[in-house]
Symmetry: C2
Subunit: 212 residues, 2 copies
Amino acid sequence: MSPASAPGADTAEVIRRSALKLFAHEGYEATSMREIAAAVGIQAGSLYNHFSSKEEILWDLTRGALLDLREHIDTALARLPADTSASAKLSSFIDAHVRFHALNSERARIVNQQMSGLNRTHYREIVGLRRTFEEQLAGILDDGVREGSFSLVDSRLSVYAILQMCIAVSNWFRKGGGLSVDEVATTYVALAHRMVIGSPAPVRRRRSGGTS
Amino acid sequence: MSPASAPGADTAEVIRRSALKLFAHEGYEATSMREIAAAVGIQAGSLYNHFSSKEEILWDLTRGALLDLREHIDTALARLPADTSASAKLSSFIDAHVRFHALNSERARIVNQQMSGLNRTHYREIVGLRRTFEEQLAGILDDGVREGSFSLVDSRLSVYAILQMCIAVSNWFRKGGGLSVDEVATTYVALAHRMVIGSPAPVRRRRSGGTS
DNA sequence: CGGACAAACTAACGCTTGTTAGTATCACGG
DNA sequence: CCGTGATACTAACAAGCGTTAGTTTGTCCG
């Protein structure tokens, strides 16, 4: 109806929200610019007044989600006193990670599953951003080992396992789905602690059967 | 060159292998029938001598991978004596799960990330198949609790966390990438045991800040 | 009132998509 | 040696893709 700007509408933001939902539920490649435009309530060509390409929309969403996650985690850790134990730092880190992935599951799913839609430059930048979380967690685990409060099965694999466990929350968590964010975060904090604290768990090995 | 059947070639199998690689690395929607055909060495139209649609190729690969995983796990569990402890059953289950996801990472990634390319019927069937693994693991954990050897933080969330931790191995594991399958499987078995065995881990809670 | 700007519109571009129809080529059984 | 069946080929289809150009509309400033 209104071919000019509707005040306060902020079309770019509406585009972001619409594309986010479509990308998260249908996938980036399976979503067309015309679908996004229809969800916004404009024509496909008008999208190019706000984003220079389809890839730029994905890039904007992906990067924004990761930067938000980083900020979310860094402020959580920054709230801790300087002499905080590794154990408490781990709790904060896991809590923040799980909360974010539960409450921003669509954005997280884009980061984790639609990265292949990005061009090489943007892809690499996302991979780099994600690596900072691995390094952050690895640092906390190292601290704990040095303190004597953690005993790891394997440092690199513990990082992978813990991080992926948290990230995967975005795959199944639904608001109002019977589980509160608090419950999930509390449980995952406890699980992560169990994974790094060295009560000598009975590690049993099957007879292995083949490849290296 | 040879417009008729090349003996022993088994074109359908070559299609499966080519499509698997393309789907896993580029994504289902981003892969065209012409790309698959080129990888096989035939024309796009010829694919329809072996599969009735693009979706059927995805369906074939997805279903095949899940059925193989099920068989893999069931034979591992079937090898155990009838009176096996829950702890040993957990070890076998995790070991089999991790091995499969490490050694079949492309197939696993299709199952986990390209499901949205399936039609509704096939999608539901895949979800159903996946649920059987959750139930299997939940059963093992329940047994352990009943035996007194496991003490869970939360039964449902433990299942999710453990399973997703194993599944995620397919996201990063590369054959010949410095880590052997045996190492990874051993470590993950140990981690899973830690997650379910009730050395009272120090569970700390942050002050929560908002949504339910 | 008038000119500038932002943001919407319409219409089309060149290409690619999954899929189909019709045809040609080979191996093999009778 | 011929007929059958499987499998490949070529060519085309309608539809949809991301993107662009040119135009219209509305708002705001001077």
